[in-house]
Symmetry: C2
Subunit: 441 residues, 2 copies
Amino acid sequence: MKEADIVVIGGNNAGHVAAEVARKYYKDAKIVLIRKEKVVLCPCGIPYIFGTLKSPEQAAYSDRYISEHNIDLIIDEVTSIDRDKRTITTLKGETIGYKKLVLATGSQAIVPPIPGVDLENVFVAKKDIDYLRGFLEALDKAKNVVTIGGGFIGVEFSDEFRKRGLDVTIIEMLPHCLQLVFDLEFCIMAENKLRQRGIKLMTNTRAKAIIGERKVEGVELADGEKIPADIVLLGIGMRPNTELAQKAGLKIGETRAIWVDEYGRTSDEDIFAVGDCAEKRSFFTGRPIPLGLASIATNEARVAAANLFGIRRKNMGAVGAFSTIIGDSGMGKVGLSEKEATDLGFEITTGETIISDKHPPAMPNSKEISMKLVFEKASKRILGAQIFGGSSVGEIVNILSVFIQKKMTAEEMALCQVGTHPAFTPAPPAYHFVTIAEEAA
Amino acid sequence: MKEADIVVIGGNNAGHVAAEVARKYYKDAKIVLIRKEKVVLCPCGIPYIFGTLKSPEQAAYSDRYISEHNIDLIIDEVTSIDRDKRTITTLKGETIGYKKLVLATGSQAIVPPIPGVDLENVFVAKKDIDYLRGFLEALDKAKNVVTIGGGFIGVEFSDEFRKRGLDVTIIEMLPHCLQLVFDLEFCIMAENKLRQRGIKLMTNTRAKAIIGERKVEGVELADGEKIPADIVLLGIGMRPNTELAQKAGLKIGETRAIWVDEYGRTSDEDIFAVGDCAEKRSFFTGRPIPLGLASIATNEARVAAANLFGIRRKNMGAVGAFSTIIGDSGMGKVGLSEKEATDLGFEITTGETIISDKHPPAMPNSKEISMKLVFEKASKRILGAQIFGGSSVGEIVNILSVFIQKKMTAEEMALCQVGTHPAFTPAPPAYHFVTIAEEAA
C-alpha cells in the first residue's frame, strides 16, 4: 500500500492550487494528486473551443506544476474513502494511505428531467476532451442549434456557436437571460448584444421535450411549438460532485455541496473540500450559496491547503467575482446586484455612470462602459458592482472586488488614486467608480 | 467688480474636478472657473495626436461639466492675486472677488539651457491647440525626428512619430530610457519594444546643442557627433507653473511647486492649490516629491474642493499610479520600484511572474504579462508594482494601487478573490499578483 501525507482528489483549478500551495507550506510532505483525466481542460475555456479556438487541445491546462512542485500524479478514479483507516481506493484497485485528504471533485452539468435528453446530439458542458471532440464533430454537420438555458454557460456557448455561422436559439424560462445574477438593465444590454450577434432569444419559454428518433430533430416548447434543432445544448446549471463524500458519510450542506467550515474542513477534520464540490458561504450574509466560480475555487484551495496540518487561514466567504464576453463586449459582476441586496434586506443606494473606456473617446476601439454600484445606505459601504463595456471589464471587476472585500466606503473609493491612460482607461476627471463614489459619498 | 464664492484658476484635470466637486459640496455657491484656453486638451492625450488620432481637436476635453454644474466659465488669464482684498485681476482687466481661491495652474515643459532651443521646429509637449497644429504641420514635412529625453513624454511621442513613418532617434543622458521610474529589467523590456518599433536609442548620450540656421538641421552630441533632424522634441520634464503664486507671496516648496498642507491649503488658508502646480508628498515617506500625474491631480482636487469651507478630507500622499503604451505593449507602475524602495532605506523582498494575459494562451491576441512586486520585508506590506504586458495593464495598475493605498500584505493579496475569464485575464491558478503574493507570504 502506498502512503502519502497529503492526497488531493481532482486536478482542475481547486485540486491544482491545493496541491501547489500544500507544497509551499509542507516542503517535505509526500503529496499525491489523483485525477480521472489524462488531460485537464481549463473549465472557463470550454465554450471557446467552439468558435474562438481551433480544438479542445488548445483549452488544455499545462501539467508543468506537477513536476515543478514535486507532486505525484496518478491518473485513476477514486472509488471510496475509508475514514477509519485513512485510505482511499481507486478503480484500478490501488489503495493509498493519507494523513490529510483534499476533495476537489468538482461539479457536473445538470441534466433536466425532460423527455429526449438521451437523444444523440444532446450535449452539456462536460470537462472531457473526447466528449468535446465529439461535440465539435456534431457541430460541423449541424445547421440549427438550440441552447436550453440563458445563464452564463448558455450565453457563452451560444455566442461561440454563432461564430461558426450556425442558427442559434436560446430558450430561457425566466423573462430575461442572466436574470439570476444581473439587474434588469444589464440583462437587457446582454440580450441586445446577443440579438445583434444574430442569436434568437426565446425568454419566458419552457422546453417541454427534446424530440427526434435517434438523433435530435427539434425542441418542443410548453405551448406545443416545435423548434428545429440538429444540436441541443443543456445549459441549466451545475451540481457539485459529492458521491464519494456521501459514500464516506461526510456531511452534505444545504446547497447539496460538501459541508465545510471556514477553514475548509469537512465534518471529518482530516478531510478538506475545495472548489465546486464544497459548499460556499456568502461574504455578505455567511449563509450557504450555490456558486461555482474559479475565483472561489482557487481561493478555497489556498485557504484549505495552508490549514492541512494546523489552522493558518480563514475563508471570509465568497464575493462572487466574474466576467464574460458577448461578441466584443465585456460584462462582469462582483458582490450583490440591487435586486439581490434588496432581497437580502439591505437598505441600499445605487449609482451609475456611462463613460468611454478610453480617452479621448476618439482613441481607436473605444467602447462605452456602463457601471452600476450598490452601496449600503447608512454606511455607504460598497456591496456590489455590475459592468458592461469592453475588454477592460475583466480587470475592473477585480478592482471592485478588492473594494468589496476590504469593506470600503464610497468616500474611500472617491479618494482612490487611479492611473489613467488614453489607450487603456476613461479620462481622469470622469474615471468610472471614482465619480460614482464621489456622487454617493 | 464681480464677486464669487469660489474662484478656480485653471481648467485642466485638477481645475475641472475642483470646480465639479466644489459644486457637489456647496450647492448654492457662485463658482467661477477662469482659464486661458478656449479649448482644453486632455494632457495625456497629446502624444496621441501625432499618430493614433487624426487631429488636435480629437484630444479636446468636453466642456459639458461647466453647464451641468452651473459653473461660470471665463476665458482669460489671471495676472495677479490681491490676498488682502481677496480679489484676482485678469489680463482683460477684470477684477473678481473670491472667498476661496483654488490654483490649478498646471505645469509646462522644461526647456534645457542648450544652444539652439529657439530654432524653428524645436517643440515641447505644450497644452495649446494652435501650437500643436503647427507641430503637426511641421511633422508632415519632416523625415528625421530627434527626441531629447527618454522619459515618458519622450517615449510616447517617439512611438507616435514612428506611426507616421518618420525616422526617430531618442537621446537619453542616463544609461536607460525610463530609468527614473522603472527597475532595470523593465527599462530593458521597454527599450527592446522601442527598438522593435524601429526607434533608434542613444542612451548614455548628451545633446550639446541643437544646430541649424533658422530651422533645425540636427543635434550635436557631447562627443561632437551630429545627428540629422528636421524636428527636435524636448522631452526633459515638466515644471510647475508657480509665477502667480510667487507674485502673491505664497510659500513655494522644496520641489519648486506651491507648498500645500495635507488638506490642500497653501500658506494662505483661503487659497488652495491642486494638480501639477501644487507640491506632492510621497505616500510612503511624507516627503515632497516631484511627480506630475493626472491620477494625483484629480485626487488633490477632490480633497481640496471638499475642504474649501471646512476640513473634510485629507491627502494621504501620492502613490504614483500610471501606465503607458509602446506599440501594442502596455506598461505600468504604482508605488516604489525596487531601486526606489532600497534608496529610501526600506528592507524589501521582491517577487516576479511571467504569465499569459489570457487563458488558455491560445486565446486570440494573448500577450505575456511580466509583473514585479516589491514588499517591505518584515511586514510583507506591498510597496510597489511594475508591469509590462498588454492592454489589461492599465486597470491592473489600479488593482495594485488599491492594495498599496490600503497597506495590504502579501497574505491578504494571496487570498484576494479575483474573477478570471479566458478573453480578459490569466488562468485562475496562475493569476499574477495572487501567485506572487502567495510565494511572498
